[in-house]
Amino acid sequence: MISFMLRRLLWMAITLLVVFTVSFFLMRSVPGGPFDRERVLEPEIMQNIEKRYNLDKPLYQQYLFELSKVVRGDLGYSYKINDYTVNEVIAEGLPISVALGSLALVFATTLGLVAGVTSAVLRGTWGDVLLMLIATLGIALPNFVIAGICILLFVFLIPLFPAAGWGDFNQLVLPAFCLGAPYAAYVARIARTSMLDVLSQDHIRTARAKGVGPLRLILVHALRGALLPVVSFLGPAVAGILTGSLVVEQIFAIPGLGSHFVQAALQKDYTLAMGLVLLYTVLLYGMNWLVDLSYALLDPRVELA
């Protein structure tokens, strides 16, 4: 177990190094340095700045210098928002993205499971077809289209939720729903298939023959078996929700990491963009690790290797 974790950590460090190296050299290959001011600087001033930030040194020394800073956890200043360091931006954005993401995940799993199980129970009926059609549509439409339609429906047609912004729980529901929708659709499809599979197995048949009520049969006996494939989907789902929040945060004006990243990349705020890429790498690693761990806990056949 401990060696499993250590190995994971080691690989994470290697991945981070690769990501950092690639981003660093990409950043430096772009014309216009980090201290491109709007105003033409006096030669002395420019030179002083270059010396201060080691820009007058050969590239590999700059690389080592930057690397040592990142290793110490200092991601530097944002190029474009003068008053903030990258660390501060992350500190403000991360909790927001986590809140949005976890609520979206809750939506995805609960809605998906309910739809999937219902669909499996109603197998072959119109209800089944309709649910699966909606689920597939959830996969087939871009996130921003779903969000636009949701705003029209639930903000203006039926005024249930605020249009945008961040602050209270109400403002979180609609974006979380839009973010979770495609994953709810995936979960529904997976749950349906595995549920059908479980329902045809012997022990369920036996239970049914014994006279166990249909509700109890589904909730207690069948659902447990159907849950496992859903959990194994959580890894990709978490990754997708993390990155999918780019769009949703933009549309709903939520100041999470996703909108920070999009803005940073589009504004060529390279330090911020790189810091966020590194952070996301850590997050992805962490999530994959958690999913593997929970998978091992849930399924006795899986060994941690």
Binding site: W11, F144, A239, G240, F261
Partner: protein, 414 residues
């Protein structure tokens, strides 16, 4: 966004029994697929869409990029069904070869000058700039008659198709059945032209990823040992790279004017970068699945037989193993194309997708989303692009399900 390449979908799941795979199996599968009505309907839809997209320049549509501001935001209309559009200037087309051949002579001169400059390494920058400018000039001259009509940059085939279209239908074209946008451009024809790019993006990027993934997986699985170990470790590492971020990062950096110029010189525009980058990301899952397949296949009798007959390693991999991976590849194809198309839509939303005057469905959907306000709904601008995108992806998904069921009923949903 659909699922990302960062997860590990399907790894443990896509391991069909392969013992009896061969021609009979695929025939068997085809038989089963034909019985699946939803899948066949989807296949029909997809084929229709593809054929229409391919033949778009031939169809009696209005030019996709022709602005008619007088008709700004015109609602969908079918009466009259046919309207007159602008005339293709045949004379100008007839004149271009003469112009072009003249310019090509100049181009040849510039080329030798460029080579000379490279040898002497003086004035290289200048020579290259002149060379590029002349090339762009030739391209612009050839395109001019079409561009004036409101067509995007056309390839040779598309140009002859457009000429054939004017020969066939004259100046008549279908009225704006799907309405018009802010510049009065016809949405119907934009949808058709958008289909070309969207489908192309989906297909090409998927194929790129397929080629990388299959080869990588096959080599890794076949070689085994430490090579396999190392190759799969690399895949593990890449799995945890947040690729969507990297792609955005990359596209913005490559969009820098001087770099974009350089790339344009090599014939690489944003779409090409997109193909390459997406292809380079989505191969991860494929390589894992293929590796698993190959490992189980390589101990099969027919492989052993080939080996004992003295076939070379590469022969075994490419002739005996790869054809047996068809089923996995097919399933994977139908799963990945929709993802790539959604990814393109996502990038269009961020303004990093195709560049005007080209159009894609993602771009159209994004333009539609922008005009959704509670004050006024230009509903056609969002409805039709979403329908086109949704229908195609729906069909692809259903077809994917069908193919998977047909190839092996035991395969699960991922």
């Amino acid at each position: 966004m659909s699922e990302t390449p960062n997860g590990k979908p399907g790894e443990a799941v896509l391991v069909p029994q392969v013992a009896s795979m061969g021609m009979s199996l695929s025939q068997d599968a085809w038989r089963r697929l034909r019985k699946n009505r939803v899948a066949m309907l989807s296949l029909g839809t997809l084929i229709t869409i593809c054929v229409l997209a391919l033949l778009t320049p031939l169809l009696p549509l209005q030019a996709p990029d022709r602005a008619q501001t007088a008709l700004q935001y015109e609602e969908p209309t079918a009466s009259p069904l046919w309207i007159l559009s602008r005339h293709l200037d045949e004379d100008e087309i007839a004149r271009t070869p003469a112009l072009v051949s003249m310019m090509e002579k100049e181009l040849a001169v510039l080329k030798t000058r460029y080579k000379q400059a490279r040898k002497d390494s003086i004035g290289l920058e200048d020579a290259r700039r002149q060379l590029r400018r002349k090339e762009a000039e030739i391209q612009d001259t050839v395109q001019a008659p079409y561009r004036n009509l409101g067509y995007p940059q056309l390839g040779f085939l598309s140009r002859s198709m457009v000429r054939a279209r004017f020969a066939l239908f004259g100046d008549w074209s279908i009225n704006s059945l799907c309405g018009r946008d802010i510049l009065g451009r016809d949405l119907l024809s934009r949808l058709f032209w958008g289909a070309r790019i969207s489908l192309l993006v989906g297909l090409v990027a998927t194929i790129v990823s397929l080629v990388i993934g299959v080869n990588y997986g096959a080599i890794s699985g076949y070689c085994g040992g430490w090579i396999d170990d190392a190759m799969m470790r690399a895949v593990d590492v890449l799995y945890s790279v947040p690729f969507i971020f990297v792609v955005i990062f990359l596209l913005t950096i490559l969009g820098e004017e001087s770099i974009a110029d350089e790339l344009a010189y090599w014939g690489i525009n944003r779409i090409t970068v997109f193909f390459l980058v997406v292809g380079a990301i989505y191969w991860l899952t494929m390589s894992r699945v293929v590796r698993g397949q190959v490992i189980s296949l390589k101990h099969e009798l027919f492989v052993e037989a080939a080996r004992s007959l003295g076939a070379s390693q590469s022969r075994i991999i490419f002739l005996h193993l790869l054809p047996n991976l068809m089923s996995v590849v097919l399933v994977y194809l139908t799963l990945t194309i929709p993802r790539v198309m959604l990814f393109e839509a996502f990038l269009s939303f961020l303004g990093l997708g195709v560049e005007p005057p080209d159009v894609s469905w993602g771009l159209l959907a994004n333009e539609g989303i922008k005009v959704i306000t509670p004050v006024k709904l230009y509903w056609w601008l969002i409805l039709f692009p979403s329908l086109a995108l949704g229908a195609t992806l729906l069909a692809l998904n259903f077809l994917g399900d069908g193919v998977r069921d047909a190839l092996d009923p035991r395969l699960r949903d991922t």
